[in-house]
């Protein structure tokens, strides 16, 4: 009995630590005054202000544009890489490739950021460009650090898959490409989707690497918020953070729902096989 109460308190504490900051942010985004300490009344003022602030909205658009394109490209590249790694028969080569692709993930962001910036500047100088950093360099950087997460999600799915599956498809007359899309891809889809969502969120909230590789004129949201610290961060940002929180939450729910459905399907398949 005692244990039960203790475990309840423990769970409650964990929940408070996890969600209290977000709750505070949410509440104060509806505050009428500018202050973070006094709640003077409910108002949608900061949401209105947010939608009037063209520079911040542009930063949000920039961030989304970057996150969407980086996650899509890195999902395609990552899936292809995972398929390639999975097909390797040479064990040494395979484990080497596996660890090499993991390096950008383990490497501290700050080192990835600085080295990417140095490389872009170096290449830019080579071609005599005045500004070597732009949207494109940021995109390349984001793809670089998203890629390992996609591979990490897709590779296990490929390994779980019955290796005879694509062979059977080709036996039945599929070309290798068609076999991949018809037989392999549906099987590894949950991994691909999780990889895509992970890459998207990683790119969305990256600060360090973006900070080093941002050019003039293309500012992402985290960089913009950071630069507000000379004066105070305005409550518009709480409003924005609240919106982003709910968007991410719904994405997460969507991915969970998808996983569940895929799981159910597999169970049903197994059952019908047993019959």
């Amino acid at each position: 009995m005692k244990m039960k109460r203790a475990s309840k308190i423990y769970t409650a504490l964990i929940m408070i630590f996890l969600f209290a900051p977000i709750a505070i942010l949410l509440v104060f985004s509806f505050n009428e005054a500018k202050s973070l300490s006094v709640f003077t009344g409910f108002s949608l003022k900061w949401y209105r202000e947010l939608f009037r602030d063209s520079e911040t909205l542009r930063a949000v658009l920039n961030t989304l544009l970057l996150a969407v394109s980086a996650s899509l490209i890195s999902t395609v590249m990552g899936t292809a890489a995972a398929v390639g790694i999975n097909k390797l028969r040479n064990k040494v080569l395979r484990s080497t490739l596996d660890s090499v692709t993991n390096i950008p993930m383990i490497n501290p962001d700050i080192i990835t950021g600085i080295s990417l910036m140095l490389m872009f500047v170096f290449v830019g100088r080579l071609f005599g460009a005045a500004t070597s950093l732009s949207f494109w360099t940021m995109l390349i950087s984001h793809i670089t650090f998203c890629l390992p997460y996609v591979i990490l999600q897709v590779l296990p799915k490929l390994q779980q898959m019955d290796q005879a599956l694509p062979e059977a498809a080709m036996d039945l007359g599929c070309t290798p490409l068609r076999a991949f899309f018809k037989a392999e891809l549906p099987e590894i889809m949950p991994g691909v989707v999780t990889g895509l969502i992970m890459a998207f969120t990683m790119s969305l909230d990256d600060f360090v690497i973006s900070y080093f590789t941002a050019g003039n004129g293309f500012q992402t949201l985290p960089i913009r918020i950071y630069s507000m610290t000379k004066k105070t961060v305005t409550p518009k940002m709480y409003a924005l953070a609240t919106i982003i929180f709910f968007v991410i939450l719904s994405l997460l729910l969507l991915s969970n729902f998808y996983d569940e459905e895929a799981m159910n399907k597999r169970r049903q398949k197994k059952k019908s096989k047993e019959k």
Binding site: L36, V38, S54, E55, L61, L72, M117, A130, S227
Partner: protein
Amino acid sequence: MKRSLSLLLAAMLLCSVLLAGCGGSGSGSGKTLTLNVYNWGEYISDGSEDSFDTIREFEKWYEQTYNQKVKVNYTTFASNEDMFAKLSSGAVSFDVVIPSDYMIARMAENKMLLELDFKNIPNYENINESFRGLYYDPDNKYTVPYTYGMVGVIYNASVVDEADAKGWDLAWNEKYKGSILQFNNSRDAFGTAQYKLGLDVNDTDHLSWDAALAELKKQAPLVKSYVMDEIYNMMESGEAAVGTYYAGDYFTMIDAQAEGVDLRFYYPERTNYFVDAMCIPSCCQNKELAERFINYMLSPEPAIANAEFIYYASPNAAVYTDEGYIEEMGEEAMEILYPDIENFSRNYNEYAYRSLDQATLDYVNSLWETLKIN
């Protein structure tokens, strides 16, 4: 399920194409000029709360005046050091930057600034005479001042006795133990102690810094915490009663002060002065356009809007003599923001921080660490 997934993917792709579409517009056509501006965050009137949208208005004004489209890429930084690092990486090019005085001196020393052509900046004549020939730009070649200000003492009059509110001593007063805030950066924190003791803040003699450290150590047990922009919330809520910060920021705090908190402000006799100024870095791609932008920033409408938005004092006569502006700010604010503007140059050159040589900087930072560890 597969269909819904492919729909999701298609939607995302469409989004990215659409977004790319609006991101790319403007830079596409050859006729549109681009101006890259690099400024502090929240340091320009940006159209929020029905204020003047400086950047958009500049684009409109430019098209009307010169019959040419211009697209301003406006980017922000959080500190002078961030800005310096970004510029000296050589990876970006900006046309107008707005750093603080000591950083300007350092940039000029490193040949990172271009000389301005004042023929393109006729509004410069509105700048008060006191802002010419300041130490960071003695020959008025590189800069046009944007804002200036001074450090003062902010206190909560419902806690602090009026009789104690004098000089730097208030920040060392035992009575307010546990509710005093001090700067969380070495230069400003040491500065308060040096001004209090009557020392030169730009001294290279270690003894002077040691004396300031001793003074800060005396203060340490009274200090609630060492803060930068956290000071806003702590003063507004009444959590802290005494803090030292910039005059302009005091007005931001007043706007948001809680019930029962009565914030007041005064200047100690000796204090720090700063100037943030517009200048053109050597990586500039279109100098004439940059100069026109600077000139536009000095013209009455944007200059007044910016001064009202930032709450910092403006060296621009078109601002501080404007009746609408004076009325908007109020008498008290005008007195605090513009004390003794005619003697600014003398006070500034005597009291303002200058860039220290590396050896002194290292020494100060090592002292700062010993203070923060204890």
